[in-house]
Symmetry: C2
Subunit: 230 residues, 2 copies
């Protein structure tokens, strides 16, 4: 297909496609004349990926380039997969200068049994994210952090299950990188929706006499579905 | 304290403090002379909050203003709390034009028992976040979405528990707004760390003979801690 058809197929403005081509985020098509080139399914896939990383993932051009370079050279060992994926992605919170003190979050991670071999960029990201919550006036106690770690663990179980179903190292890497950066937005939205669900349940329980176990009632909606699929 | 002391106390550049003052994100101090003003603890708290929302939360000036306006006028009914908080915050994924088709995510949310009274901006955010994951080449099946909904639910249980411990409607609103936008980054970082933990466990299980139940082994680290705190 021509570049205009490629743009239409991906629902991306033509000017944006040309910009991605100039920046090397999209590989050139096969030239069919001095001014025309042909594009195929691979171009369409790459274009959709770049678009999603930029628009929804909020990655900058340099970060997209780092992701694409990793995807074009996947590690063959599953042991290296996450290291490569996490190195290609920017950490959720960029490193401060000077780097933050990570002693508290390291102790916390040790405490939940997650202390081994964590990359410094993720430790720094966690320390800064926690410091920002506290600077804004919230306590964020170890109990609360543990609640969030439990939530993150459940998301990661799904992440890893999806990656392990991949047919090839290249596909597994694609799944981990894209899933990590783009599913963050799915999770953030589901969390806001879940806040409304939990809050409504909590308010309902305080109005009439409580006839059910609090814990069962609070966890019911999703657990029921999860159980029915197991 | 003087403006320079305020800046030093919050570890924010003086020029940034002056910018926040000009933009009305920080309330003026009490004038002590034609060119000097006095600032107190309230200014320091507000400055730290604005800084965290901008730097870590990634909010724009207009969004910070909307958050501050909500914080200055908290609803008295707990039923309105989340509505006000979510209206003040930008949705994780901004609305597209034309708005996305939300039929599939509405059916999904009905299926997990979360179908009631969801604000259109969150439905649109979820539909767009899911569409972006799919455009980037991942299937994101209903089972996987359910796994992520379960994770989000666990985060929300902690969110709501924290908000319900607040002393006043104003403090509860502050907790929900700040917690929602800033804890997103804590969760995103913990998710990447948890991916490494889950992946290492999964790889370890495939190497030697598996002597434990897969489910127990995968969920062990955090569950153990959660159980010991209950």
């Amino acid at each position: 297909m021509r570049v205009s058809e490629l743009a239409a197929a991906a629902d991306v403005p033509l000017a944006t496609v040309k910009f991605y081509l100039r920046e090397g985020l999209l590989m050139p098509g096969t030239a069919t004349s001095r001014t025309r080139a042909n594009y195929d399914e691979q171009h369409l896939e790459r274009l959709r990926l770049v678009r999603a990383l930029v628009e929804t993932g909020g990655l900058g051009l340099r970060e997209v380039r780092s992701v694409l370079a990793a995807l074009d050279d996947p590690p063959t060992s599953p042991h290296e997969l996450l290291g490569v994926a996490h190195a290609a992605l920017p950490p959720p919170v960029a490193a401060s200068d000077p780097p933050p003190d990570t002693a508290e979050v390291e102790r916390f991670l040790e405490g939940v049994g997650w202390g081994d071999c964590l990359p410094p960029s993720l430790l720094a990201s966690l320390a800064q994210a926690v410091a920002a919550v506290r600077a804004a006036g919230l306590a964020l106690t170890p109990d609360e952090l543990t609640g969030y770690a439990d939530a993150a663990y459940r998301a990661a179980v799904t992440d890893v299950a999806v990656a392990r179903r991949a047919d090839s190292p290249a596909q597994a890497l694609h799944t981990v990188i894209v899933g990590t950066v783009l599913v963050d937005e799915v999770l953030a939205t589901l969390r806001r929706i879940a806040q409304q669900v939990v809050s409504t349940q909590a308010l309902a329980r305080t109005t009439p006499p409580d006839t059910t176990s609090a814990d069962t009632a609070v966890r019911e909606p999703v657990s029921r579905v999860v159980a029915s699929q197991e």
